[in-house]
Symmetry: C2
Subunit: 743 residues, 2 copies
């Protein structure tokens, strides 16, 4: 679902030092054997099969793909089954968009068939371009251009004296997740929202357009969900529980995650006449796109008629769940997933990822034939319904929360994959572990390790502090997870330590969520020889095998503790900066700076004086972060000392691993985040006003950002307690290890 553009990982210079979890590599080096198995030819054939026809939720080919995947798992020796849920999934009944003033223009809302591209014309099976979970609506109103439609864009509109109240907002794709645009527009009183792909962002400005090049053609449209997923993902009618046949369901009108206003995505060919008909203030430089027009804000005189109506049906989704049972610790599960549903043919998103998961599954089956028996149970999942709302993964997690609490060790996710640099984000308790994996994987283009190549990228592009980190810190820095793919329910609802892995950063494309994301496109413009599909399979498979076979689970807390300290410093800095900025702005208002500098031909509205934020008592958080640093170091030392005694001591290992599996859940609070209880992780969440992008320590950070300083202080205490719970757990594990070492 998520478009991979940003590289989420920094890297480090030093080699892997000898450490207790080096033992997680199996004696027979099964992971080395594994890495010889993935084959580009297989990866290509899976993609060709899975992307041959449109396979969105509820389509015939979605079900066929699920059944084909099921059959493959079984063929490769896995226990496998399809687990079905029934979820709300609206599809378009009517879509109409017209400019009615000052001239007439009817939007085409149609992506043309291209002769060279054999699947682009499968019209009878394609979903038309739309934004899922828009409400029905029929509105005629003046248009206002809102740039990317973020809260800060509305602050600029306020300065210009322009309001979207009663208007239709037109926002461009990019910068924030699409669902944020109608949400913020509605909060400001808009009655409708259009979202268009500007050629500056993924069209001709970036390169030749498809089919000549990989960028978005003039009629290309980005489909996608606009559900309010920062409140909760999954079926809107069954929050917190699996959408099983007997689940209690909200009525449509009760569902809080549908949009408040009608929304429609459009192409730049359809957007240009609308934007060109706006008058009002000229858009500032960072509001201008790549169309050959003067970007203006409005409101009007462009007046637009927008009508959308949907079939509000429940549709079946088919998760394929496959298992290899563990030999030693069968009750400990290593879970690995990628979705199989697409908006249309979805060769890049998600087939480039699910193909990799399948090739891993084939190779793991092959290893078993060679005599390998994983110590832990391995669960592979091919999720359905990720595109609309992480439906398959969310409903499954909600239906299996108790299982996960008892059994889950970690969840590894992938989604679309590309060519270039290794990206990893996730739980920082797995930072050192995934660094170890990355050091052992060879990059197909440069033949250095993917770790070394990523380090070079950070050195080449990063600011000085990141360069220094990359050269001197023992481990790669991994990113934190927001949302945008199926890790969200595992990490942020169930508290399962998670990682999200991919390669990318070399190719740009403009076919995301369009009919052109297909086999022809992928094999002409992206990872055309499946070299990076192979290397992703090698990477994930290596991680799965090491997690499955490790004596001591490779959780580690010194990197986590240092990262938490970094976040805490960011929170201090954020508050300081807000105080400084507001103090400075108030001073300027009081000194008449705004009235003195305004141009009478282009008058601006001065901002209002705001109270300067009060100081916040960060001491509990500062102390907890420091305590975690000490606790993590202590554990590291205790584990090293006890390692000789742990070898072959299954009881002690089981006890230690039970504690380690409880580490991530200590960071979870079942009361959830302020105003969105589904999200329970106190360190990581998608931003309430960014959508995909992570907000770390979200309860504190977002309250500061939104000016709720008292609430921020309350959250400081809650996060501190969670950190102290983790300290307690780690200290207890250390004490047990020290006792064992003394025995």
């Amino acid at each position: 679902m998520r478009q991979v553009r940003v590289l989420a990982l920094s890297v480090a210079l030093a080699g892997l030092t000898a450490s207790p979890w080096a033992q997680s590599r199996p004696a027979k080096s099964w992971d080395e054997t594994f890495r010889t198995l993935p084959q580009p030819a297989n990866l290509k054939s899976y993609m060709q099969r899975l992307s041959a026809r449109p396979h969105h939720v509820g389509s015939a080919y979605d079900k066929e793909n699920a059944e084909w995947i099921l059959a493959k798992f079984k063929e490769w020796g896995w226990e496998a089954e399809i687990e079905r849920f029934d979820v709300l999934f609206p599809t378009p009944k009517e879509r109409r968009l017209e400019l009615v003033q000052p001239a007439k223009f009817t939007a085409k809302l149609e992506e043309p068939t291209l002769v060279v591209d054999p699947t682009s014309g499968q019209k009878t099976e394609q979903l038309p371009s739309y934004n899922a979970y828009s409400i029905d609506g029929d509105v005629t109103a003046p248009l206002v251009y809102v740039n990317y439609g973020r809260p800060e864009d509305y602050e600029q509109l306020d300065r210009l004296g322009v309001s979207v109240r009663g208007a239709i907002a037109i926002a461009r794709y990019g910068e924030s997740w699409r669902g944020i645009k109608p949400k913020v527009a509605a909060e400001h009183g808009a009655v409708g929202c259009l979202i268009y792909s500007d050629p500056k962002d993924d069209g001709y400005a970036m390169g030749d357009v498809f089919p000549k090049g990989p960028m978005r053609p003039s009629d290309g449209v980005q489909r996608g969900s606009v559900m309010d997923m920062p409140v909760y993902p999954g079926d809107p009618l069954t929050p917190g529980v699996g959408a099983t046949p007997d689940a209690k369901r909200l009525s449509l009108s009760e569902a809080p995650t549908l949009t408040k206003i009608p929304v429609l995505p459009i192409s730049y060919a359809d957007a240009q006449p609308l934007l060109a008909a706006l008058t009002g203030p000229t858009a500032a430089e960072n509001w201008r796109g790549g169309l050959p027009i003067t970007y203006r804000i409005g409101p009007g005189p462009a007046t637009v008629h927008l009508k959308v109506a949907f079939n509000w049906d429940l549709k079946p989704i088919y998760n394929v769940i496959a298992r290899l049972p563990g030999s030693t610790f069968p009750d400990e599960w290593i879970i690995r997933g990628n979705h199989h549903d697409a908006w249309v043919n979805g060769a890049a998103d998600p087939v480039s990822g699910i193909s990799v998961a399948l090739e891993e599954a084939r190779a793991l089956g092959e290893l078993r034939k060679q005599g390998w028996a994983p110590k832990r149970t391995i669960v592979y999942a091919a999720w359905d319904g990720e595109e609309p709302a992480l439906l398959g993964s969310t409903e499954w997690v909600e239906a299996h929360t108790d299982d996960l609490t008892q059994h889950a060790v970690a969840y590894i996710n992938t989604d679309g994959n590309g060519r270039g640099f290794f990206n990893v984000a996730g739980s920082h308790s797995l930072e050192r572990f995934i660094n170890g994996v990355a050091r052992d994987i060879s990059d197909p283009e440069t033949h250095i390790s993917i770790w070394k190549r990523r380090q070079a990228r950070t050195i080449a592009r990063g600011p000085a502090d990141e360069r220094k980190d990359a050269r001197e810190r023992a481990d790669l820095r991994i990113g934190a997870l927001g949302s945008g793919s199926d890790y969200s329910p595992f990490l942020q609802h169930a508290g399962v330590a998670s990682l999200n892995l991919s390669f990318g950063g070399e190719d740009e494309d403009g076919i995301y969520h369009s009919v052109y994301d297909d086999f022809y496109f992928y094999t002409h413009f992206l990872d055309t020889d499946f070299a990076y599909a192979r290397v992703l399979a090698q990477t994930v498979g290596t991680a799965v095998i090491r997690l499955a076979d490790a004596d001591v689970l490779p959780f580690e807390f010194t990197d986590l503790a240092e990262t938490v300290q970094k976040y805490v410093k960011e929170l201090h800095d954020l508050l300081n900066k807000k105080q400084e900025d507001i103090r400075e702005r108030n001073r300027q208002i009081q000194d008449d700076v705004f009235t003195a500098t305004t141009d009478p031909r282009r008058p601006q509205v001065p901002p209002k004086v705001e109270p300067v934020p009060q100081a916040i008592n960060f001491a509990p958080l500062d102390n907890a972060a420091t305590a975690l640093v000490d606790s993590a170091r202590h554990y590291e030392k205790a584990l090293a000392a006890a390692t000789p005694r742990l070898a072959g001591n299954t009881g002690a290992l089981r006890a230690l691993n039970r504690q380690l599996r409880q580490a991530e859940p200590q960071l979870v609070d079942t009361a959830g985040l302020p105003n969105r209880e589904w999200y329970r992780h106190l360190l990581y969440a998608p931003g309430f006003y960014t959508g995909y992008s992570v907000k770390t320590v979200p309860g504190v950070r977002e309250n500061i950002e939104q000016g709720h300083y008292t609430d921020a202080e309350t959250e400081v205490v809650r996060v501190s307690r969670a950190l102290m719970r983790l300290v307690g757990l780690v200290d207890s594990a250390s004490a047990d290890l020290e006792k064992l070492a003394r025995e």
Copy 2:
């Protein structure tokens, strides 16, 4: 000549403190009376008259305007005359530009007549669009897009493995002065150069195009000189001497300031088919303009035929020189100028400025009728030939160098004027003086002082350090002068303390140097009610009167000294940054960072290892700057103590003022700057590779920038000596004042 976009002035909070040069305000407050005299209706009528027909060098109306200006000066009671020089001024004989591969396209090279704009169709008198002082040429070669054509753009081309050798470079206008683009292209081996106006920079991206709005229409072309003026301005055939009938002239082939390759400016309508026909690497984001195409670098396959041929004639230029003789110190001259020639009708450039000078002259004549007799001689100059090469002012300064050395107090320049904020740049010995003037002028839009409004702008837009300066420093910071108008020969060749004044910053336009810069345009889109023309007349007239009537010339050195310290710190920082950057880049090259991060589909060429710059002995400069701080403070104190004794003491005043007039010349070295001896000021020069933009302490700064560290150290010594000469002079004046105070 120079397009006014950048605001060159910072401001300060404190009021004018009682100071010795407060006395420069005449007892009868003639300057207050003066400020009531300028009339918008007059300003408008001068503009209408002077811009009624094209009036470039050599045209009939250029001469008619000179004669009309002469008559006006005489009418207002001035002694006035026309002073003629004969200079090389090429005009087009043939201009041809075609795309010959991969398709045929012939450029129009023509700005259409617009029905609403009565002077846009004066075809028989208009100069066609061209770049003056391009050599003749007839070349056919592949095209390469070079962005703004600056040296750093060629570094990017090197990384991409693209060379302009044997190619025609196409650069967009902006960022550097236009003459730099063919100069740098030729240095890199290009055989021709096109310069086009991208719509992102002054076309539709910025606003509606003319005649609907003020931005550049698709066929609009920016004319302008491409002579190598950073070597020397003025007649290419008579460097350093006035172009009088008997002057020794170089032959055309000896003239070093003509371009090395043929050059032609074009519109974006003509540029688009050429740029669209390029392939090769996609331009990076900051290389992309606003055309609806994918910007690519080339080289080719676009192949272009460029042919230009010129009439290489000598043409007469007519400077109008007018005088009001001084009553007390007739041998001390206050000089004030603005050019009168234009590229076409030139309502904004230069008529919006020369009209102001005329209205000042009328008002000063009026003051004389009321009984005012300026103590010093006032010289007003209406320069010809500024557009091609600062011809009129340069030849006049070269012809009158001895007069200037003996008599000149200061030179005040204006050029085109607009609406908004007060801009001032010039000699920092006049910084405090011009601050005092600005505090007494009222802004017509906000009715606060122009000083206060400029302060507010700096606070509103500046970074924290500039905000702090603006609030806490006693005076406005004024900019330093590079080039682009007639102050250059006064300040940088003759060493006359100079100021350049204007208003601007509220309106953008795209008619610069086109046929549309005319009365219709100006009165629809710029300072339409001539309110800022009036306020510029008030500002300059006040400055002229105060300079003419001051007992003690208002030169002051504490601001200069502090500014020099700032420059010296910048030089330290520049060297440190170069050392760090080169050290870092070398490390990355040696660590294979470039080869590790290159994309095999878009290979880049790693940069080469460079020696890290050696340390430079800045001590002489540090010491001289410190000495100047002490010396300036000392003078300030000595002047305050002696002021009672100076009153009415004409002999002492004459002696002191002689010393003060010698201050700026101490910063001059007749040996000139390295490789360009015409430029003699050691603190201020236009950049050798920027053209208009100033390089302060140019001998040191440019040698560091260009990697000539030994030469930089030599220049450190030379600049230090100049500063110490100034210290000696100021100390001598202080000693004389102390002696006087003791008498």
